[in-house]
Assembly symmetry: C2
Homo-oligomer: 225 residues x 2
Amino acid sequence: MIAELHKHPTTIASRLTEELTDAIVTGEIAAGEKISEPNLANRYDVSRGPLREAIRRLEGRGLVRHVPHAGVRVVTLELDEVVELYAIREALEGMAARLAADHMSDTEIEAVRELLDEHEVAVQKSEGREYFQQEGDLDFHYRIVMASGNQKLIALLCGELYHLVRMHRYRSSRTASRPQRALTEHRRILDAVAERDGELAELLMRRHLGGARQSIATQLEKPND
Amino acid sequence: MIAELHKHPTTIASRLTEELTDAIVTGEIAAGEKISEPNLANRYDVSRGPLREAIRRLEGRGLVRHVPHAGVRVVTLELDEVVELYAIREALEGMAARLAADHMSDTEIEAVRELLDEHEVAVQKSEGREYFQQEGDLDFHYRIVMASGNQKLIALLCGELYHLVRMHRYRSSRTASRPQRALTEHRRILDAVAERDGELAELLMRRHLGGARQSIATQLEKPND
DNA sequence: TGCCCCAATATTGTCGACAATAATACGCGT
DNA sequence: ACGCGTATTATTGTCGACAATATTGGGGCA
């Protein structure tokens, strides 16, 4: 009764895609690790056929790298790559924030405002230690992107890049992330959206992500051991 | 002796991925068409195994849409989706132009300048009818993106989104595309890059793509028959 | 002793057949 | 004659076995 409460009779390959995605994102399958098909096959108790198809999809999500006749390796996601990723987020989510200011409904804005309130109590509960990064629907950035109305943009940010972002979050959960400040910035962005000021929303979002990017870039300088 | 001059012994699935990508982009496999596995299997004279893997990759490139137990269909790429796509290009390639201004070497700049000269003669040869859209390395936008230095950005624009852009080009080869003007704008952008003025390069690139987007959006209003 | 070549092994790539699900067509009842 | 349920058919999903390629270990030669 763990899974399969969904009505649609899903396929093994689809299920595997999600399971493997999660396993990689959470580090259950270590970064840089070589994926052995026979190994994973009986680890997840499936045949190699569906497994290979799932891997091809992971390839499309940028979570693994494939070289013919040599196998696939989980991506490393070095810090400089994360910096690149955040630079892209800056451009794309900035755009999303601008669009959201036009498309987001009042009720949705209110819903996100309540979401941020919940985040507030979570932060205070953990005594400002970390902005407990919720995922998917519970993530502020996720909601903003979803409200942009641009389907291609949504697919890009929520489909592919998001997994890499999650992957980085899991690894550096304690470092950086000044939670109280991030929360404040989220509120400012939402305010701009509520005022239908797309330009400001974009500016604030870019600054928000730009700060995070620089914070990561700083870590990149100094060795962390 | 047609192919396989490359040293790396490529796999059937990889070859199929490229062949199918091209077939879809050029319209050889019509948009919206349902893909039958047995059909394609003996059409390309391969087994269903590699074919399915190739399809999964096409799925990742956003060229086909898959629903479990119902098969895959080639994407339709309606005009409003193209508009969305160009909005994304605006953000991403604008960023690429800005980065290229910092990273592009002088020799590479000169090479692109010569490329634009070749484009010029091609345009004049066709009497300004169309900017004969070259692909890959011969495409101006491609070169700018490649010079950005951001690997993730390159993968995104040259790997996935580019195929959709090509797909749209093939379908509307005659419409829009004021070639002389586009060429001039390309030159201006390159000039800004040569002067290491990233801000201006970004601005010009965004304006360049924004114009194209609005041109497409205009077509979207009026029925084209 | 060190290097290179070759054989043994393991892994990836490919294939054909079987099972499960969805679409289709036929026949029955009203 | 029309609608619905059922049987048929075709397509997708899955599996296990075989072939091809890369890796690893050992042995021979300089």
